[in-house]
Symmetry: C2
Subunit: 300 residues, 2 copies
Amino acid sequence: MAVCVVGSVALDDLKTPKGERKNLLGGSALHFSNAASLLTDVKLVGVVGDDFPVEGFDLFKKKNVVTEGLEVIKNGKTFHWSGYYEDDMNIAHTVSTELGVFADFTPKIPESYKKCDLLFLANIDPVLQLNVKKSMGKIFTMLDTMNFWISSKKNDLIKILKEIDILLVNEGEAKLFTGIDNVNKAALEFLKLGVKYVIVKKGAYGVSLYSEDFYFSLPSFPIKEVTDPTGAGDSFAGGFIGYLDYIKEINKKNLKTGLAYGTVIASFYVEGFGVEGLENVSKIDIEKRLNLYKEYVTLP
Amino acid sequence: MAVCVVGSVALDDLKTPKGERKNLLGGSALHFSNAASLLTDVKLVGVVGDDFPVEGFDLFKKKNVVTEGLEVIKNGKTFHWSGYYEDDMNIAHTVSTELGVFADFTPKIPESYKKCDLLFLANIDPVLQLNVKKSMGKIFTMLDTMNFWISSKKNDLIKILKEIDILLVNEGEAKLFTGIDNVNKAALEFLKLGVKYVIVKKGAYGVSLYSEDFYFSLPSFPIKEVTDPTGAGDSFAGGFIGYLDYIKEINKKNLKTGLAYGTVIASFYVEGFGVEGLENVSKIDIEKRLNLYKEYVTLP
């Protein structure tokens, strides 16, 4: 029982209506690991420079995240993102992106990772994602991507869609990829490309899952203070995949429950800057909010 | 068992990405009546000019909507709205608004209407809404409003909020009224002003209900072709209030189920221009889609 995640580990400078912070722990693989490790074992593949702070390694240690696959490049600079959010916290504005050692990232999967049951390919170059997928074999896989790759490497994305099980996109990405303005119609296009499940993230509005067999949709948990939306999507993915790995069986029922775990964990996530939202959150806190959430969304 | 609705009856010229139509039957009270009459008896209060087409009266007749309170002004012009929607069907762009006889609308409530069990005050001047409410007495009341009244007559709105039971707003209206950017926090402000329940419409994203006792949220039904979003909010209100009137008791369970009826009826509504979305929809069709909807949103 373990999840393997491949993606970015970064440092973020950011500003939201709630404040401003520098050098926050960030990156998709880090946020995913931070969330998924609440529910299951996580093995991370990524790269950082030797400027990556000790608090980052401490976080992985505290969360029992295996970092055998986290390369540390001597004299290298860790991927650094700088950006801000205005009143509409659904939109991240980028000020600067310094790729650093991430520019030459070639994921190397340790032998011990090949026993993982689930794989999350966080948002990186789809060519690298395909290489990782091939080296990992028949593992159940969820893939995230972004506008940049849809615009620049769509053919590579189409190739990997045939190889994966779940595609995770937001509404804008689904529309950009398919050229279809109706998100429900757009999502179904991905199924034609060989994906089994499509999960569409709708920011503060919740999430929908599309498959040949069934459709499922959940609103978000009603947060009163969003402090920092960075990592919301990756923590959602972590909660979702973490639950599936914990429960061991991928079926309709567990996929639906997984979406609820993802939703609830993401709701904690955005309540703090960087990784702080989950800092003092226990498994019991998750279960408590999940029970509340069920009351909020269950029809009589 | 009957619902009384006070609001506009209009003719609409509109353009959406799916086509262009002129002189469609429209107006908030008309759309509400068209929807609510699927589930219960409706009595309408409004005003039209003698240019209002026979098809409008035929619709009310077919749906058994009582029109004793619908004034017809000789040589008057019916309220005429002209507008368009672009790709984001959540936003209506107004080209022109000719109030016509609606400019001097003074709702007169027929004596026979005073036995109604529920009242829907559709979007009109809050001063008129308060007068109607006073003349109807202690009836359970839902009120809709819009940005225009929030900006120009906020004090009158605050007055009537103390007198009604449910406030129906969209996200933008909730934020504008309260000056609070977080919709969940904004909604709770209305409870402090004396409203028992606040329903926040989120367009294609669903709906949330806030009260002192409980919170409830539903995503929308996944429509593949939105033809014309005009009347979505009013048909939602019609389905919701229509169900509450039909089921007779206002409690937590019925409010939740009512939100589902509203959601499902609104999903039919936007599939056609003007009132066409419900044209061939029977009670059985509603129940069928409701059952499907429950599968789409119910956690295991």
